[in-house]
């Protein structure tokens, strides 16, 4: 075991897998010699060579298209999109190509590729370094979407994603790269070292894709969340003294519906939390599923605490961010009936 922040844990996952499987290659903008703008791939090119870990031109469509070609050849590429806000030029390659190749060839070809991308706000990144794009991919048949919330999960889930034979989008909440975040931007940062999930095995382990984690057991209300919002939610219920069951979904496609159903059937109330914009956000799907499957257990309407339907504003970042007050308001609505 070692104490790792999320960046170190992700780096370790790469290291372990590059060592285990010589068909794995890592490509992306600045990932080679420099080791990535967030340092996730630091030292890997030196250790594994320039043909295993290499820089790419600034062309996200080219990165994903060539990675698809490499996967068709027989490699297992890990492609980094430097910020998920930059992923749109690659949308066609992801949506029309990577996600459908297995289907359109009836299994003759597949794309065992991981697309890693730092995502979410909270670092004063402005409109183009803060977005949460998970719903844009959850809507697409044929790609999996994983969003870890701790160093331990990040490493185990990334290893599972690399071993998966389908394309996996792996969104890394950059706000919590260096420490969990309680949602109060004006409080001092807590480092990962003080969090139990910073204890990370140095070797190989994996966490299955499609399994949620109940990070806090509770009786009064179920809160569905992922990524940065797991920590904000935990801090919120702690400070408000609410006995909530907090579920870290970890994977949104495929979704762990069983864990969600069991919890909502127990608590009878549900709040969905995500940082992404509200309309057609993944929360809308979660709310629909909960009412379809748990309607007769529900005591109150499902509530959503989300980002607003605006671009992510630079100076007003913390007004946009769905912090403890917005989550608290949703919880009160869910609990007052």
């Amino acid at each position: 075991m070692a104490v790792m922040n999320m960046i170190q844990a992700l780096n370790s996952a790469h290291d372990v897998m590059l060592g285990r499987d010589e068909n794995i290659v890592v490509l992306g903008e600045d990932v080679g010699y420099f080791g990535g703008v967030f340092r996730v791939t630091e030292g890997l090119q030196k250790k594994y060579g320039t043909t295993r870990v290499f820089d790419t031109p600034i062309a996200e469509n080219g990165i994903i298209a060539t990675a698809i070609g490499m996967a068709a050849y027989g490699l297992r590429p890990i492609a980094e999109i430097q910020f998920t806000d930059y992923i749109y030029p690659a949308y066609d390659q992801i949506v029309s190509e990577a996600s459908r190749l297995r289907y359109r060839t009836a299994g003759e070809w597949s794309v065992p590729m991981v697309i890693r991308s730092p995502y979410g706000g909270g670092i004063f990144g402005g409109q183009t370094h803060s977005q949460s794009t998970e719903a844009l991919f959850a809507h697409v048949a044929g790609v999996k979407t994983v969003i870890p919330s701790t160093p331990y999960d990040a490493k185990g889930l990334l290893i599972a994603a690399i071993e998966d034979n389908d394309p996996v989008l792996f969104f890394e909440p950059k706000r919590i790269y260096n420490g969990p975040f309680d949602g109060f931007f004006d409080r001092p940062l807590t480092p990962w070292a003080k969090h139990p999930a910073s204890e990370v095995p140095e070797g190989y382990y994996s966490i299955p894709i499609g399994k949620a984690s109940v990070v806090r057991a509770g009786e009064d209300v179920t809160i569905l969340c992922y990524g940065t919002m797991v920590h904000v939610t935990l801090a919120t219920v702690r400070e408000l003294g609410i006995d909530a069951e907090v579920i870290d979904l970890r994977t949104i496609v495929p979704l762990d519906i069983e864990t969600i159903e069991q919890s909502v059937q127990k608590t009878g109330r549900c709040v969905v939390v995500h940082e992404a914009t509200r309309t057609n956000g993944f929360g809308a799907e979660l709310a629909a599923l909960v009412q379809e499957r748990c309607f007769y257990h529900l005591e109150a309407p499902v509530q959503r605490a989300t980002g607003f339907d605006t671009p992510y504003p630079h100076s007003l970042e913390w007004a946009y961010f769905p912090g403890p007050v917005r989550i608290g308001t949703a919880l009160k609505k869910a609990l007052e009936v």
Binding site: A65, G69, L75, S96, T105, W109, G210
Partner: protein
């Protein structure tokens, strides 16, 4: 920006004007290609395979041609193929044309939803297949059926795909002609244009990473060179010196848009090689020998780690874009006949005849044989059904619709699969 009427802002300056390219001829016009510069066969120099890319660049405004007006092979690009190879190419091209005609008719007879011919372009895919190794990987568009025919892919497999019937290995999931066959080095065709071009580069990069000896060939039409994927393909190809051949089939028409709409008015498509520093050339796409020679040159180069080549095959789409298109609405009906580079099958046939390796009798026999082969395959394929012949519900078991979305079916697809089965059951009882 001032609120003032912009036209009054600087009255002394000339008014700006938008140029919207127009093809030289529209329906009713008499097509006249006499202003098109067609260099004589044999006149293009042939640089050494190891020459710097810049040495090939004069070829991007030239036209590599081997077959002269006298039907003889001339000049440094003559690949000096033996008669058997020439006859094999002729046979494949003839087969493709007959196959296209039969499948076009099958669509018109309502046996399938869609078809795309490659009439007039047969030499390009067939000769490219002949020039590459059997193990090299193609990332084709929908007009390279000649690759499959030349590599001996069973016609019946192609037809089953076109009919989306029970014999379709793609299980009816793809639009007709969007073939895929790994064993024949034919990557799955996408209907989204241009996407396969950088994928070919990625495959070639994979081969280079692994120290393989196989190369890739990516294909696009001239229309889709306007896509960002084209630029990415060339950028990645040059950056990583990828062992790839990038082919632009310039058949002059992207549905109803002439090549000028794709940027072909002021430069050739081959000239784009210059900006990327890769080898490039423009080749007479209706001259099977020139196509063979160019692809062989580029493959020798790629195989020796000397980098990618961009080849523009200059040709003409003699028929509609697809069965859903009627070109008489946007170009003169006799334009294909006026095309100065002739018909690729007629040209190869004339060459073989000129060198004493072919005659009318043998050609008539070939036509008959190929037609019989296509007819027999069609009969066999239709025994497995057509898109519209299925008597009960659908050509495929509906449950297969949910397979292969993922390697393992997640719960939500299992639920939807059951809902589909229930829906069919309910449909049988409808409206009760």
């Amino acid at each position: 920006m001032s609120d003032k009427d912009p036209s009054k802002l600087r009255p002394n300056r000339p008014k700006l004007a938008l140029h919207v390219p127009e093809p030289p001829f529209r329906p009713g016009d008499t097509p006249d290609f006499s202003s098109l510069k067609i260099p004589a066969a044999g006149s293009a120099p042939r640089p050494d395979v190891a020459a710097p890319a810049t040495e090939t660049h004069p070829l991007t405004t030239h036209l590599v041609r081997v077959l002269g007006d006298d039907h003889k092979a001339v000049g440094p690009w003559d690949p000096k193929l033996d008669p058997d190879t020439l006859r094999k190419m002729l046979r494949d091209m003839v087969t493709v044309r007959i196959f296209d005609d039969r499948m076009y008719r099958a669509q018109r007879q309502g046996k399938t939803s869609f078809y795309m011919k490659c009439t007039g372009e047969e030499a390009i895919a067939v000769a490219a297949a002949a020039a590459l190794d059997r193990e090299d990987m193609h990332f084709p568009t929908y007009r390279q059926q000649g690759l499959l025919v030349a590599r001996g892919y069973p016609l019946i497999e192609m037809m089953c795909q076109i009919y989306s019937n029970k014999g379709d290995k793609l299980q009816g999931r793809q639009l007709p002609v969007m073939y895929s066959d790994k064993a024949h080095g034919f990557f799955s065709i996408s209907g989204n244009l241009g996407t396969q071009f950088p994928q070919a580069v990625g495959w070639a990069m994979g081969a280079a990473i692994k120290g393989d000896s196989r190369i890739a060939m990516g294909w696009t039409g001239e229309g889709a060179t306007a896509e960002g994927d084209f630029h990415s393909a060339l950028t990645f190809a040059t950056v990583y010196n990828a062992p790839v051949i990038l082919a632009i089939v310039n058949n002059q028409w992207a549905i109803s848009s002439f090549s000028g709409i794709a940027g072909g008015e002021h430069a050739t498509f081959a000239q784009r090689a210059l900006g990327y520093g890769v080898a490039g050339m423009r080749v007479d796409g209706n001259d099977a020998l020139a196509v063979f020679a160019a692809v062989r040159w580029a493959s020798d180069r790629a195989r020796s780690n000397l980098g990618p080549t961009l080849i523009e095959f200059f040709t003409y789409r003699a028929e509609g874009h697809s069965t859903s298109d009627d070109p008489s609405g946007y170009r003169p009906v006799n334009e294909a006949k006026a095309w100065p580079l002739g018909d690729p099958i007629e040209r190869l046939k004339a060459h073989l005849t000129t060198i004493g390796e072919w005659d009318e009798e043998r050609h008539a026999a070939l036509l008959e044989e190929a037609a019989a082969e296509v007819r027999a395959a069609q009969r066999e394929a239709e025994r497995k059904g057509t898109l519209t012949s299925a008597s009960i519900d659908f050509p495929q078991d509906v449950r297969t619709m949910f397979n292969d979305v993922f390697e393992e079916m997640p719960w939500h697809l299992k639920e939807q699969q059951q809902a589909m089965v229930d829906e069919l059951e309910a449909k049988r009882r409808w409206p009760s």
